[in-house]
Amino acid sequence: MQARNAGWWALLMPAFLLLTVFYIAPILQVLSISFTEPELGFGNYERILTNRSVQRTLSTTGRIAGITTVLALVLGYAIAYSVTMASERARRWWILCVLVPLWISVLVRAFAWVTLLRRQGLINEALIGMGTIQEPLELVWNEFGIIVGMVHYMVPYAVLPMLSAMRDIDPRLMTAARGMGASRWTVFSRVFFPLSLPGVLAAAVLTFILSLGFYVTPAILGGGKTLMVAEWISVQILDLIRWGFGTMMATVLIVTILVTLGVFSRIVNMRRLFGGGH
C-alpha cells in the first residue's frame, strides 16, 4: 500500500514543483510586499479599519458581486430547469446556446453592451422612436450597466453546476409524487427544488468568487464612477506606485476567496464546481 502511494506522489511531484516555483512562490513574494512597504508591519492592513476609500471599494465590490450572484442564479435556475425538462435533442441545442457566450471575449461583450445601452444606443433610440420616453434613460456608466454586463457574463457559470445537479435527480421521484396526488407546484417546491439545492449553492459560490475579481466589465460599463477591487489594485500598482497598499488589497481578495471556498467546501461537494459531478 505504502509503495503504491509513493508511486502516485512521484507522478504528482513535477506538476507540484512547477506550480510552487513558478506560481505560488512569486505570488507569495508579491503579497509579502504588503507587510514590508512603506514600512515593516501591519500598517497597510490597519487601513481596512481606518481608510474610507478601502472600505468603500470593498463594500462596492461585495454589493455588486452579491447582486450579480442573485440575478445570475435566478436566471440560471430557470434556464437549467428548462434544459433538464427538455427532450434529449432540444437539450443539446440549449446547452450549446448556454456555452456559446462563454467563448466570446469579455471585452467584446462589454462593448456590445455599450452599443445597446448608451444614450444613442439601440434601446434608447427604440424607446424614443416608439414615444415611450422623451429623454434617454441612463442605462450605462453606472452600477446598473455594470450589473447588466456582469450578469450576462455569469449566467453560463451559474447554469452549468445547477444543470449537473438537476440531471442527477431521479425523474421517477417526481412521477411518484404526482402519482400520490401532489400538485405540480408541490412536486417542484417539496421534491425537485430541495434536491437541486446543492447545485444552487455550488453555482452561488462559483459566481460570487468570479464576480469579486471582475476588472474589464466594470471598467468599461461603469464610466469611471465605480471602482471595484481589481481596478483599485491596478491603480495602486501601475499609477500611484503604492505597492504595499495595492498588494494588501490583493491579499484581502485572495483570502476572501479562500475563506469562501473553505467554508462552502464543508457544505457543498466542491467537485461539482470543477466538473467532477458525482
Binding site: T60, A219, G223, L238
Partner: protein, 367 residues
C-alpha cells in the same frame, strides 16, 4: 519550432554574456564564426539598439519616423526601436527593481519623472549633452526627464447643443446655463487645475493648487460627469453624444473638430499645457548614448513639426513654431498665440502631491 543546434549555440553565447563569462566582443566573434547575420533584436555587427517605449497607436510610426530615423541617420551604428507596451510608472518600477531593464526611453509624464527620480529609478538628464535652450520653457526640461513634444487638456463642446459658446471652466461648471453631461479624465491632473480656474483663479495663480477647494468643486458636478481613461474613449464619448462638454487632450479635440466640420469645437483658453516627458529608467541598456538621443529629439525642430502634422503633438523647440504650416497653427498648443492662453503644468507640484491628491480625487468621483 524545433531549435536547431546553431540556435542553441547562439543562445549559449548570450547566456555566457549575461553571466559575464565573455564580453561583447567575444560574443560578436562567436556569432560571426557561427555565420549569423544581424537579425531583429540581435546586436550583431556593432549595431546598438535604443528602445523607445510608447503607448501604441500612431505613436509607433510617428516616434520612429520623426525621432528615431533622424538620430540613426546622424549616428550610424545606432538603431531606434519602438515598443508600444505602455510604460506606466508601475511597470518601470518593476523593471528597475528586478534589474532587468530593457527600455531606454519611456514616454512618461512630469509626475512620473518626479516620482521615479525620487525613488532612484530614473537616470538624471545630462544637461551638458541636452541643451536647455532647445526648449521653449522650463516646463519641458526637468531633472529626470525632457519633453520633445507638448500636449494640452482643453475644453471641447458640442456646438449644436448651446446657443452661446462656453468660453471658460466657469462655464463648464455652470450646469444651468449649459445643461448636459460633462466628460472628465479619471485622473486628478488637469481636472483640479480646471476646477481652480472655474473658481476664478487667474492663469498665473493656479499653483499651488488649493486641493480642498478644487475637490469640492469636482464634488459638485461629479454626478453629472462621465470619466475617460483612454484617448480613443474620450473622443467616442463626445462623438456619440454621451457628453456635451468635456476636458480632453487637444489631439483628440482637433480630430473631433475637423471630422465633424466644426460641430464639435474646442478652445485653447484656460487649457493646461503639459510636457510629453521622456524618462530614462535607471540602468538602461544603451547607457549614456541615450542622452545624445534625447538631445537630438529636442534639437530637431523639423521632426517636431512633422510629428505635429501626423499626431498633433506640439513642438517644444523654439525654432519650430514659425515653421508650422499656416493651416496647422490653430491646432498647435505651443503656437505663441495659443500658448499665451494656457497654463503650463507644474510638474514638480504634481510629482510631490500626485499620490495623495489623486487618491482623494478617485475617492471623490467614485463616492
Amino acid at each position: 519550432m524545433l531549435q536547431s543546434f546553431q540556435q542553441d549555440c547562439i543562445a549559449l553565447l548570450r547566456e555566457k554574456l549575461a553571466k559575464g563569462q565573455i564580453d561583447r566582443r567575444q560574443l560578436m566573434a562567436g556569432l560571426a564564426a557561427l555565420g549569423v547575420a544581424p537579425a531583429a533584436g540581435a546586436q550583431a555587427q556593432g549595431t546598438r539598439d535604443i528602445v523607445m517605449v510608447n503607448w501604441g497607436g500612431l505613436a509607433n510610426q510617428g516616434f520612429g519616423q520623426f525621432y528615431g530615423d533622424p538620430f540613426s541617420a546622424a549616428n550610424p551604428g545606432y538603431r531606434v526601436v519602438q515598443d508600444s507596451t505602455g510604460p506606466s510608472v508601475g511597470r518601470i518600477r518593476s523593471m528597475v527593481e528586478s534589474r532587468r531593464v530593457t527600455w531606454d526611453v519611456c514616454d512618461s509624464s512630469a509626475t512620473g519623472a518626479v516620482l521615479l527620480g525620487g525613488l532612484g529609478m530614473a537616470e538624471k538628464i545630462d544637461y551638458s549633452v541636452v541643451k536647455r535652450e532647445d526648449a521653449i520653457g522650463p516646463t519641458f526640461t526637468m531633472e529626470y526627464g525632457v519633453a520633445p513634444y507638448s500636449f494640452s487638456s482643453v475644453l471641447v463642446y458640442d456646438s449644436s447643443k448651446f446657443p452661446t459658446a462656453p468660453t471658460s471652466w466657469a462655464d463648464f461648471w455652470d450646469l444651468r446655463k449649459f445643461p448636459g453631461k460633462r466628460l472628465l479624465r479619471r485622473d486628478a491632473t488637469c481636472v483640479l487645475e480646471a476646477a481652480s480656474m472655474s473658481l476664478g483663479k487667474p492663469l498665473n495663480a493656479v499653483y499651488p493648487i488649493d486641493t480642498r477647494g478644487a475637490l469640492s468643486q469636482v464634488e459638485k458636478i461629479r454626478r453629472d460627469c462621465v470619466y475617460w481613461n483612454g484617448g480613443a474613449e474620450s473622443e467616442q464619448f463626445i462623438r456619440t453624444g454621451e457628453a456635451v462638454m468635456g476636458q480632453i487632450w487637444h489631439t483628440r479635440a482637433s480630430v473631433l473638430q475637423r471630422e465633424s466640420n466644426g460641430r464639435f469645437k474646442f478652445i485653447w483658453n484656460q487649457g493646461i499645457l503639459q510636457p510629453g516627458i521622456q524618462v530614462v529608467p535607471k540602468g538602461n541598456p544603451a547607457g549614456a548614448a541615450v542622452q545624445r538621443f534625447l538631445a537630438s529629439m529636442m534639437a530637431n525642430a523639423d521632426g517636431q513639426v512633422g510629428l505635429l502634422g501626423l499626431l498633433g503633438n506640439g513642438p517644444t523647440n523654439p525654432n519650430a513654431a514659425s515653421r508650422v504650416p499656416a493651416e496647422l497653427k490653430q491646432f498647435n498648443p505651443t503656437d505663441p498665440a495659443n500658448a499665451a492662453l494656457q497654463v503650463p503644468l507644474d510638474g514638480n507640484w504634481w510629482g510631490a502631491n500626485y499620490q495623495r491628491v489623486n487618491q482623494d480625487f478617485l475617492d471623490t468621483v467614485t463616492g
